[in-house]
């Protein structure tokens, strides 16, 4: 039996043959509060440290360096899309939907620097993100279809051995992958893989395809770390209020500060 299990381990997992504890209904137990620990939300690509877009915030909001999370290190943009990314980058302080507290979409929600929680049962798995109260329901073993595009897309999932595979479609075109202006169209299709790699870590992979934006599919991967502190919980992070000056400041009756 051990030999057979070793043969069935996917290629990406050659170093690990970790078998996670099971839920009561016999599936790998992914329940818990997780968080990525990298700079992917700043920039998926490898990047050196750099000045942040708001000079008055100095070093506090400078851009930290990161080794990148993309397999092969590059995003295979089509030429027009590559130009658009550069334009996005130049105007990111106003164009990044994160500034407006918009839902981050998939996969960005996974690697925003805030925790998310997996609440798992047999027919559905709910992914609850602390940031902006984002939430997705993964419909297990389902061919259900989305009624319309949405910010967080529509997720159907199934198990492949130790791995939860989530097929995400019907994502709208309005999210970015990171703060560096990496973008996509409404043809985006994401396949995520969540694989336990130890008691307190998951391996997260997302394959991204979008024929209107990229010349081929590409993939990101990163570990996700369990919040092991006592009484860890998601807190309320309702950010619309923090975006009001940006969104509606010019529509005020008087300058900010007077009522």
């Amino acid at each position: 039996m051990i030999a057979i299990a070793a043969v069935m381990v996917p290629a990406t997992m050659q170093a690990q043959a970790y078998r996670a504890p099971r839920t009561a209904d016999g599936k790998p137990n992914l329940n818990g509060i997780w968080e990525a620990m990298n700079t992917a939300n700043w920039d998926l690509r490898p990047h050196a440290a750099a000045q942040g877009p708001v000079l008055s915030l100095g070093a506090q909001f400078s851009i930290p360096p990161g080794i990148g999370v993309i397999e092969g290190d590059e995003i295979p943009y089509l030429p027009a899309a590559a130009a658009k990314q550069k334009e996005n980058f130049a105007k990111r302080a106003t164009l990044d939907p994160e500034v407006k507290c918009y839902l981050p979409g998939v996969p960005r929600a996974t690697y925003m620097p805030y925790p998310f929680q997996i609440v798992q049962s047999a027919k559905t798995i709910m992914l609850v993100y602390e940031y902006a109260g984002g939430v997705r329901t993964v419909y297990m073993d389902s061919n259900s279809k989305a009624p319309a595009d949405s910010w967080m897309g529509w997720s159907n999932g199934h198990w492949e051995g130790e791995t939860l595979v989530v097929d995400v479609t019907s994502l709208n075109e309005d999210t970015w992958f990171d703060r560096a202006g990496n973008h996509h169209s409404d043809a985006l299709h994401v396949v995520e893989r969540y694989t336990p790699r130890s008691a307190d870590t998951l391996n997260y992979e997302a394959t991204i395809e979008d024929s209107k934006t990229f010349s081929r599919p590409w993939k990101i991967s990163m570990p996700l770390y369990r919040h092991v502190e006592k009484n860890a919980q998601l807190l309320e992070y309702k950010c619309p209020e923090f975006a009001e000056e940006v969104l509606y400041g010019p529509l005020r009756k008087k300058p900010a500060g007077s009522r």
Partner: protein, 339 residues
């Protein structure tokens, strides 16, 4: 978000008062779910706790407060309840759809909810023989304590003449921060009054369609958050009492203001599945700064077919933009006229 539905409800209350004859007293049905005539055991999750999972609606035609003329009458007969529900739906139909509107009027500008299937009468509502969601002989929210009335009045006075100055002068719902029905306690919304319950080991997650807010409620007996951490939806802790999930919520902000509540608001909810397609939802609220006694309500929730769709409020908040820019235009016009 305008408040059409509460207006319709008060019209409805008047209609019911006018139409309903004084009926004979009916025997009140015991409110405790354990008193149902059949012993029905809810299915359990894989972890062995009652299974509350699925998509549910708490929509109802029963008003929160009992119409004054019904006095202590807590329950209608089946027939009276059906009449009440029918009248409510007819009133809702008249209020929002199928009516010729005069061009240039507010009624003409606002969209026709029936086109989107959002009119009250187009939603599933749960049959309920109660005359009010609030239980007990009074069936009404206790009077606000003097301090609470002062608080309310001060809040209104501060905002008078400033209602469209800026986003912070608008209601939390219009700002896409919190909708009034969300609670806790959870109240019926004007439309799409839907929620989804998801369970995992040691947690019950309750998600409301609007504004996709999720309470992930631990049932492991841990304490509440530190006192200085206040949240608009408070901080919830759950535990099981037999087959009932009991959820205790504290740590509210003073902006939550559930019917005028302060940050001392304390809510206890109970979820009991009473058959395959029904959850009995009960709540008790207390706030010594606001009401002189606790008050309780019951709202049946029934299962609905289908899945909850994304309600992206912040991302498409044209209401805020239009209200503020419209106010600026009105001011300019008024200033122009006064020259």
């Amino acid at each position: 978000m305008t408040h059409r539905i509460p207006v319709a409800a008060s019209i409805l209350a008047t209609l019911i008062a006018a139409v309903m004859p004084a009926a004979a007293q009916t025997q009140p049905v015991a409110a405790k779910p354990a008193a149902t005539s059949k012993t029905w055991a809810p299915p359990k999750t894989a972890e062995g706790v009652p299974d509350l999972q699925g998509v549910w609606t708490n929509g109802t035609d029963t008003p929160l407060e009992r119409p004054q003329n019904l006095g202590a009458k807590e329950f209608f007969t089946e027939e009276e309840a059906a009449q009440r529900d029918k009248a409510a739906k007819e009133a809702a139909a008249r209020a929002v759809g199928g009516r010729d509107t005069e061009p240039g009027t507010v009624a003409d500008v606002h969209y026709d909810l029936t086109q989107f299937g959002l009119a009250r009468f187009q939603s599933k509502t749960n049959a309920n023989r109660r005359t009010s969601l609030i239980v007990g002989p009074e069936g009404r929210v206790p009077t606000l304590l003097p301090d609470a009335q002062k608080r309310q009045a001060a809040r209104l006075a501060a905002n008078r003449e400033h209602q469209f100055d800026g986003p912070e002068n608008r209601p939390l719902g219009e700002r896409c921060i919190l909708w009034p029905h969300e609670g806790p306690p959870m109240m019926p919304a004007g439309y799409n009054s839907n929620l989804q319950i998801q369970q995992g080991p040691g947690y019950v997650a309750v998600m409301q369609e609007m504004i996709h807010d999720v309470r992930v409620i631990p049932t492991d007996g841990r304490p509440h958050l530190a006192q200085n951490v206040r949240q608009l939806m408070g901080d919830s802790r759950g535990h099981w009492e037999g087959d009932t999930l009991v959820v205790d919520t504290t740590n509210f902000t003073d902006r939550t203001a559930f019917r005028g509540s302060s940050e001392k608001l304390h809510v206890v909810e109970r979820f009991t599945r009473t058959d395959d397609n029904t959850i009995l939802y009960q709540f008790t609220v207390e706030d010594p700064s606001t009401w002189d006694k606790p008050w309780s309500a019951e709202i049946p929730m029934s299962r609905i077919d289908g899945q909850i769709y994304e309600y992206a409020c912040q991302e498409a908040n044209y209401g805020m933009r239009n209200n503020l820019s419209g106010a600026r235009v009105t001011e300019k016009e008024a200033a122009g006229k006064s020259k």
